[in-house]
């Protein structure tokens, strides 16, 4: 029986334990639902987004379910969180993840769920012929077997290249282009006018007779009658290679490097301006030609100056393995296509609800299958780290749903399947040379990095691009030539993993700086002091650094830290146990955000005076929900009671245009970018800005006018800045007016039809765009470029376009990155000379996180970054090709991630006090991770004299290094 939500959420059973916290979800469930209309190729599609995660907080405030910490239990005073807003649900095991849901939980869905199994290519050399169904007894056979040719015409690749050009021709032309590139030795992409492949270049399912383009590409979807059949069949065919049948060899798809390529060459000038740089010259028609000329000059300068002993150069090859994000919840979801109403229902946990919906609708654009409504139930993702950003999982679920013959389907990967199909951190090879003058000042750098993107493009070229920005480390380098590219391969696809190319780039540059410090006989702090970057300097792209970085403080604190100061005594102590101990240090200057970021948030006041924050962003565990709940506290005198995540409808409610094709800043409804997918590093600065500015707007044009009305004519001359929140009441600082409660203010807003919520969009590119808006006759300026408002109890947003805008600096578009979260890691390790085992013993991270919104979240993120990076450095190994997880038989018994006992408890995070008037947080989810690998490797050198340049540093590699 399907229960109604009010009956079943957190209900007690007679034994006094919590019963199944199941919640019936559907249009009648009372869950937060947002709707919008999408125009897809001239047809209108209604999209309803139900936020399952928000239902949890919602129920708390509805009073049907009271968290034992009290309704305000998680919440401290305005601006303070005592716990995570979602913490109670998690610590009591409530249903919040997509994997927790079954069709029986879904109100109005018919029948039982049909489990789906995706069979994935284990052979990329030969044509896929079919599956050997004779391996399954008749009673275990799937109800339906979906091969690639059966979905042609039904689900389209949302990639214009496929629409415009036949795939075979595209491949042929790409092969020709690639051949030309190989013959000419050119490092730039010669694409012969071909539009390079988008994310979905290759079919979702390999058609029979064709070759798979990469390992793990689906070759068939099997849809089973029920769980028993599915489990029985799985036992018989999982891990059995001969279930898949292959025929004649196929040609290799030769694909040029994925666009865009990253080619950053910078020649500093004598004055503040550069002689040449990407940010200055990137729009020149012949930029690549000029850049390559300068590159050759830089290479020559290094050769000449090292020959004359004017400079000393340190250079080497580095390699790093692919890595699985290994988020704990394997991707899972439910789907049901109701042909009678042309409605596609999906239950998923994704990092990119906006993007997934867009791609999903694109799949059915020219399809025989008509979709007029999409209901997306957005769940809390059980970890993400980039691995759920534009993952093809949601699309696979959509395909299964429309091809099942009407049954609701459940697609729930096991860990083997997740390893075989999930997005990976890119394997990377790099060759870098860095040259110093005789005083230890860095003069020049050349760097070349290749990232293995695997079969699908995903965000690979952008990962290579950020690695290019990071290749120069945290240093002011007069001459630099950086080339970075993402290359198609037949491996499992790479994606936007935590650090986004930064960990790879910093491993290289920070290892080389350590090498130089040793050679110059200076401390790791001194060599960095001589070269560290800061305000007034430029990045390797040529963009100015304007933010306070505080690297000087980071270096001073690390040098004074006990791990460094006590290293001799610690070395002696460990030596008594037969272990070599060493300390290593490394820094990173990881950027947060992208070259331009659009973000939004809606802040609403209800009739009781309680606040809700809505966002399109998703909380992957990084704590954005909690952070967004408390950051409005200062402005609104109370934290948000609830936060609704994954609202893919909000952008549409603004009714704005975006993108250079659709307008410019001159159009008052235009912004450069709409919204992106969720990334943990976008919370503290970007999303917080949108929430705080929207809160200010709500105060200025909703709450303050309501207060004036309640205070009467005497308040006409007051300004918002004359007021202050005191103990939950809005007061006038100078006195003379009674304090007003949130409830009183809300009642006034509801009765007068005043502004009850503000949905604000903000755009950042070095600075925030600032819009001026006229609301009910009054002009206001906020750090927003678009708003939509609701009035009184009416919940529909009305766009309120700006009247003018202070736009972002046009030159900033070529700076690539402008904001940074500097971090230094000081790490002590032991090396067992007999076994080669490396164990991390102590770590201290020195982090410039700007203003800290919630300390517990920042330190948790930081510690998680250290643990994950330690795993990547020492434990997590994954060969490419069929030897790796592509084979379908990989799991945690051969892929080792850091367990609790592997991580030292002596882990400290030291955050720097913000300098000057910095009042904003910085996105730090990736920052701490970036310098961990080189700090460990440098510590190993300190301990043993062995320089490790190939990750992971396994005991075997360590033994080989120690034994020559």
């Amino acid at each position: 029986m399907k229960k109604s939500p009010s009956q079943c959420f957190g209900e007690r059973n007679t034994e006094g334990t919590t019963s199944s916290p199941s919640i019936a979800i559907g249009p009648q469930s009372g869950l937060s639902r947002r709707s919008f209309i999408k125009n897809v190729a001239g047809a209108f599609v209604t999209v309803n987004v139900f936020s399952l995660a928000s239902g949890i907080a919602a129920r708390a405030s509805e009073g049907t379910w009271e968290p034992p910490l009290g309704r305000d239990g998680w919440m401290g005073p305005p601006g303070v969180a005592n716990a995570r807003i979602d913490g109670y649900a998690k610590v009591t095991g409530q249903k919040i993840y997509a994997r927790d849901y079954h069709v029986s939980d879904m109100e109005g869905w018919p029948g039982t769920e049909a489990p789906v199994m995706i069979i994935r290519a284990i052979n990329v050399d030969d044509a896929f012929i079919g599956l050997d169904m004779s391996m399954l007894p008749p009673d275990l056979r799937p109800e339906r077997v979906i091969y690639g040719e059966q979905v042609e015409g039904k689900v389209e690749l949302t990639n214009t290249i496929i629409h415009d050009q036949h795939l075979d021709q595209v491949e042929d032309r790409m092969r020709a282009a690639q051949k030309k590139r190989l013959e000419s030795g050119s490092s730039t992409s010669e694409t012969e006018g071909i539009t390079l492949p988008g994310d979905f270049m290759w079919p979702f399912i390999v058609p029979r007779g064709a070759g798979a383009a990469f390992y793990g590409q689906p070759v068939a979807f099997l849809i089973f009658k029920d769980r028993a059949t599915y489990l029985g069949a799985k036992k018989k065919i999982q891990f059995v290679d001969s279930f898949q049948q292959y025929g004649a060899p196929v040609k290799d798809p030769l694909i040029p490097p994925l666009s865009p390529l990253t080619n950053y060459v910078r020649v500093a000038g004598d004055g503040p301006e550069d002689t040449f740089s990407y940010s200055q010259n990137g729009y020149d028609d012949n930029y690549n030609e000029e850049a390559n000329n300068y590159r050759r000059q830089i290479e020559q300068a290094i050769a000449d100056n090292t020959a004359s002993s004017t400079w000393k150069a340190y250079g080497s090859d580095f390699s790093m393995q692919a890595m699985d994000p290994m988020f704990m919840e394997p991707e899972s979801g439910l789907g049901w296509y109701d042909a009678s109403t042309k409605t596609l229902n999906l239950v998923v946990g994704t990092q990119s609800p906006d993007g997934d919906i867009g791609t999903l609708l694109g799949m059915f654009e020219d399809s025989e299958i008509s979709v007029s409504t999409v209901n997306l139930f957005s769940c809390y993702p059980g970890g993400g780290f980039g691995g759920r950003d534009s993952s093809v999982f949601t699309l696979n679920l959509g395909i299964a749903a429309v091809m099942s013959g009407g049954s609701p389907v459940r697609l729930a990967y096991d860990r083997f399947e997740q390893f075989q199909s999930g997005l990976k951190r890119h394997a990377c090879k790099g060759t870098t040379q860095v040259a110093f003058d005789t005083t230890g000042k860095v003069q020049a750098l050349t760097s070349n990095m290749q990232f293995d993107s695997g079969g699908r493009r995903n965000l690979s070229p952008y990962v290579a691009q950020l690695a290019g920005v990071c290749a120069g480390g945290s240093y002011n380098i007069p001459l630099s030539a950086i080339f970075s590219e993402a290359l198609y391969s037949t491996n499992v696809s790479g994606g936007s993993q935590r650090g986004f190319g930064g960990p790879q780039a910093y491993f290289i540059i920070e290892s080389l700086f350590d090498e130089a410090a040793r050679d110059f006989s200076v401390s790791p702090f001194d060599i960095r002091r001589t070269n560290i970057t800061g305000p007034g300097d430029r990045t390797v792209v040529g963009g100015p650094i304007t933010q306070s970085l505080q690297f000087g403080n980071i270096l001073d604190m690390a040098e004074a830290d006990p791990i460094w100061q006590n290293r001799a005594a610690d070395r002696a102590r460990w030596a008594r146990e037969g272990l070599s101990y060493g300390v290593g240090f490394a820094v990173s200057n990881q950027a947060y955000g992208t070259s331009g970021d659009g973000v939004l948030a809606a802040v609403a006041m209800d009739a009781e005076g309680n606040f809700t924050v809505r966002t399109n962003a998703v909380d992957m565990g990084n704590g954005s929900a909690t952070t967004l709940a408390v950051v409005i506290g200062e402005t609104l005198g109370a934290n948000a009671e609830r936060v609704e995540l994954g609202n893919a409808d909000l952008w549409d409610a603004l009714q704005m245009q975006y993108g250079s094709k659709n307008g410019s800043w001159d159009d008052n409804n235009w912004t450069p970018k709409s919204v992106g997918s969720s990334s943990a590093c976008l919370t503290a600065f970007h999303q917080v800005h949108a929430a705080v500015e929207s809160a200010k707007a709500l105060f200025d044009c909703g709450i303050f006018p309501a207060a004036q009305a309640l205070w009467g004519a005497g308040a006409n001359d007051l300004k918002p800045s004359d007021t202050a929140w005191v103990d939950g009441q809005l007061t006038v600082k100078a006195g003379g007016f009674p304090g007003l409660t949130h409830k009183q203010l809300a009642s006034q807003i509801m009765e007068s039809g005043g502004v009850s919520s503000v949905l604000g969009h903000a755009y950042f590119q070095e600075t925030w765009a600032k819009g001026t808006f006229s609301v009910q006759g009054t002009s206001h300026t906020w750090g927003l470029d678009g708003i939509a408002l609701t009035y009184g109890a009416n919940n529909s947003f009305t766009p309120n376009y700006r009247t003018s805008v202070v736009r972002t600096c046009p030159a900033a578009s070529s700076y690539v990155r402008t904001v940074f979260a500097p971090c230094g890691n000081l790490i002590g390790v032991t090396v067992d000379p007999r076994t080669g085992d490396v164990v991390m013993r102590a770590s201290a991270s020195f982090l410039n996180a700007g203003k800290i919104h919630v300390e517990g979240l920042v330190s948790g993120q930081s510690q998680g970054g250290v643990a994950m990076a330690m795993g990547w450095t020492l434990l997590e190994d994954m060969p490419p090709g069929p030897e790796g997880p592509a084979s379908g038989d990989w799991n945690l018994n051969r892929y080792f991630v850091a367990k609790a006992k592997d991580v030292p408890l002596d882990q400290r995070l030291i955050t720097l006090t913000p300098e000057g008037d910095e009042k904003t947080g910085r996105g730090i989810a990736e920052a701490v991770m970036c310098s961990v690998a080189p700090a460990i490797s440098n510590a190993i050198y300190d301990a043993t004299g062995a320089r490790m340049r190939d990750l992971p540093i396994t005991p075997q590699k360590m033994r080989e290094a120690l034994n020559g």
């Binding site: 334990t17 916290p21 199941s22 910490l69 988020f327 059980g382 882990q907």
Partner: protein, 171 residues
């Protein structure tokens, strides 16, 4: 083969004999609707699926991995899952400590850590250990667990603090 009966969160449950191969985690999630016990690796490594069991009434509690325990091994056991821990709306002190200590992030590993810690707690209730042995006992309880979001430090700190605050668990 006979049907399989055991006690689940204080209530008797019976699984049909033809489910004897079914891992406990599937039975909990799909047949009982108790989805708090999590599936991650399915092969007994990550310990996200940890539940607490007593092999006989009054026997000391032990941890059990629900992903790699078929129902055939469950007959006669008392099983406790995360859903049983808070009683009458009151969080267990360990839950409160994890919550207030910001011990977890995405929370997917949390029921596993919690049930391992609860098992330790219940054992300490019955047989306190010297305070000096507590760190090792916590390490023993959760050292093999995997959490991909946190660096474990806050889990250790929260569990230790809750045990020390409770009184009577260490001597």
């Amino acid at each position: 083969m006979a049907d399989i009966s055991f006690i689940l969160n204080g209530t008797g449950v019976t699984a049909s004999a033809n489910l004897s191969d079914l891992p406990l985690v599937d039975f909990l999630q799909e047949d009982q609707g108790l989805t708090g016990t999590k599936f991650c690796c399915g092969i007994g490594v990550c310990r996200a699926c940890t539940v607490s069991v007593r092999r006989a009434p009054g026997a000391p509690p032990e941890v059990l991995l629900a992903c790699s325990t078929p129902l055939s091994q469950m007959a006669g056991l008392e099983v406790y899952t995360v859903e049983s821990v808070a009683t009458d709306g009151m969080l267990h002190p360990l839950q409160e400590a994890l919550l207030k200590g910001f011990a977890f992030q995405c929370g997917y590993c949390t029921p596993g850590f919690l049930m391992a810690a609860i098992t330790l707690w219940d054992r300490l209730k019955a047989a306190p250990i010297p305070a000096s042995a507590l760190d090792a006992a916590i390490d023993q309880a959760i050292g093999d667990h995997i959490c991909r979001c946190t660096g474990y430090v806050r889990y250790y700190e929260a569990i230790k603090q809750a045990i020390l605050n409770e009184g009577g668990l260490v001597s």
